[in-house]
């Protein structure tokens, strides 16, 4: 890696750190939300927005922007933190998270927040939506590409596999998926609830291009994203092995922080660790 590349990776890592602080801050302010899955997904999201994703913060509705479909919509703090760091949302927006009238709805919502392309909250639907965006782009001969962020838990939904099958059948080579493989779902570890096993192998068997990465190594993620952009045959999936709650010691790999906000004492510790 040359010097410029090292600097770029460091910048992305720094942005991810600031996003993590936002995630902790806003869930604490709301007294609710999903910090665990936000902290696991954020490195991949920063890598994507910081490198290849084409968007215009001054014109979030630009027709030919790439689409980012946050299928695991409960990890909305990650999306809002990113939009804040990019200057689309204000700090006051983050602090209004989950409150009446807030642009930061509990789960990401395209009608409430500039820069959000999908109304999520019910798991298993985002990949199908992304496929619809991808097929439209192909019909329009548009260069726009579609990225979908899936949780590993939501691959338990049957609809995911309907979409996986259809994406390959319709040769949606402009569709890319990142799977946040943190191995924890709402109630417990996936191994306790319903382990999906070899997700990559399952995607491959449907004809997808698949690569597995360390979802917290910024340089590895950037590499994988760049590899995904070169695939012209069929849809592509990146399995990002992550740690739920990554960056906050007591949240890491702890199912309790799937859907629980830090209290006053915990937020101090968390912010200290992320500073």
């Amino acid at each position: 890696m040359d010097g410029a590349e090292t600097d770029r990776i460091s910048e992305l890592e720094e942005m991810a750190r600031r996003c993590r602080m936002d995630i902790v801050k806003m869930t604490h302010a709301a007294g609710a939300g999903h910090p665990g899955g936000s902290l696991s997904a954020i490195d991949c999201m920063v890598a994507l927005y910081g490198t290849t994703l084409r968007f215009d913060t001054n014109n979030p509705d630009w027709e030919d922007r790439d689409r980012f479909v946050m299928s695991k919509g409960h990890a909305s703090p990650a999306m809002y933190a990113l939009l804040h760091q990019m200057g689309v949302l204000e700090e006051s927006d983050l602090l209004s998270f989950r409150k009446l009238g807030s642009v930061c709805q509990g789960h990401v919502d395209m009608n409430w927040t500039d820069g959000v392309d999908f109304s999520a909250g019910s798991l298993g639907m985002g990949l199908s939506f992304g496929l619809g965006c991808a097929l439209s782009a192909k019909m329009d001969s548009s260069e726009r590409r579609i990225w979908v962020m899936l949780g590993d838990g939501e691959t338990q939904e049957g609809q995911i596999w309907e979409a996986v099958m259809a994406a390959n059948y319709h040769n949606a080579n402009n569709l890319r998926v990142i799977i946040d493989r943190n191995r924890i779902q709402n109630d417990d570890f996936m191994g306790v609830q319903m382990e999906i096993g070899d997700i990559g192998g399952k995607f491959e068997s449907f004809g997808w291009n698949v690569r597995e990465v360390d979802g917290h190594s910024m340089s590895d993620i950037v590499d994988a994203i760049s590899w995904a952009e070169t695939n012209e045959l069929g849809p592509t999936a990146i399995i990002a092995n992550t740690i739920k709650g990554k960056g906050v010691s007591f949240m890491e790999n702890n199912p309790e922080f799937h859907g629980k906000a830090p209290n006053n004492e915990e937020v101090e510790i968390a912010m200290g660790e992320l500073s």
Partner: protein, 318 residues
């Protein structure tokens, strides 16, 4: 009105409408392995590049349609009415909640579908889609009105559900009278001051038959083709509540939550006059010849006549 003719089924009207809609390049069609049944197959033949086969996977189809709508397309997605229900939450959360203009067509609705039996006979679709905010719900009575109303969907904002049926019925409209139809406005087919019969789908013909029978008894009926269940034409309800003073509803659908339910909700809170409902009375259907089944379940002109007499008696007794 000209002499009625036996035309195609309302699903044929949907198929023809899609061909007319093809003039708008935004229109795309999605199918779930039932294009030959819903009649989207004609669009596929002419515009294969704008027709997307989703396989037997209705949940995926609804969200693919949503994604396409968010990308500037106007998707028309169809399958059997009963199978749209499998994707109810996808319609609710993925299409209607963000207010995306996806137009869903459920064909083979109602008991009228016949011999396939109860698993194929949707009797609750109008009720469940009517309960979703921002959703337009349409149930035309013949092929000509189905064609006209489907074409009009292009002009409405937000999602819609249209129920069509499998079997051919007597036409209630001709090429001229169909042009007066408008989504959201009840179509008054006959005018009389004793009772107003609101019907949708295949029961519109039965309502007209009932009106003929009742006129021989000196009872004059207003008959309305209430092709739009939502938004409800409350202006017409208000007017007919004044002039007729009692109502009958007739639908090939459960009496819970459909056209009768919608009328009942409005009457109870606005103008409490008698309403008698003809519909499926909280039961499933079964296999059988359509005519036999409609008699078995009580979806006949005789049932409408009986309901009208009761409604009038209740009005006179109050």
């Amino acid at each position: 009105m000209s002499i009625p003719s036996v035309g195609g089924a309302s699903r044929d009207g949907y198929g023809k409408a899609l061909l007319r809609l093809s003039e708008d390049p935004r229109v795309v069609v999605l199918e779930a392995d039932l294009g030959k049944s819903t009649k989207s197959c004609h669009f596929r033949e002419s515009f294969p590049d704008r027709t997307i086969s989703m396989g037997i996977a209705e949940q995926n189809m609804m969200l693919v349609a949503a994604g396409m709508a968010s990308s500037g397309k106007v998707p028309f997605a169809s399958t059997f009415a009963i199978f749209t229900e499998r994707a109810f939450e996808q319609v609710r959360n993925g299409i209607a909640r963000p207010g995306l203009s996806v137009h869903i067509c459920g064909s083979h609705g109602g008991i009228h579908t016949g011999t396939d039996g109860s698993s194929a006979q949707s009797i609750e679709d109008l009720a469940i889609y009517r309960s979703i905010p921002k959703m337009t719900v349409v149930h035309p009575c013949d092929d000509l009105s189905a064609e006209e109303l489907t074409v009009q969907l292009l002009g409405i904002e937000g999602p819609s559900y249209t129920r069509t049926v499998r079997n051919k019925v007597t036409r209630m409209y001709d090429d001229e009278s169909k042009l007066d139809l408008k989504i959201g406005v009840g179509s008054v087919l006959e005018e009389g001051a004793d009772v107003a019969i609101f019907a949708c789908g295949v029961m519109v013909e039965q309502a007209c038959n009932a009106s003929s029978t009742l006129s021989e008894e000196g009872i004059n009926c207003t008959v309305v083709d209430m092709h739009t269940i939502k938004p409800l034409d409350t202006e017409l309800l208000s007017k007919l509540a004044e002039t007729c003073g009692c109502f009958v509803s007739a639908e090939d659908h459960s009496i819970i939550g459909g056209l009768g339910g919608a009328l009942s909700e409005w009457l109870t809170t606005n103008k409490p006059i008698p309403l008698e409902m003809v519909g499926v009375r909280d039961r499933f259907g079964e296999s059988g010849d359509t005519s036999d089944l409609m008699h078995e379940v009580g979806l006949t002109s005789e049932a409408i006549c009986k309901a009208a007499r009761i409604s009038i008696n209740r009005k006179n007794a109050s």
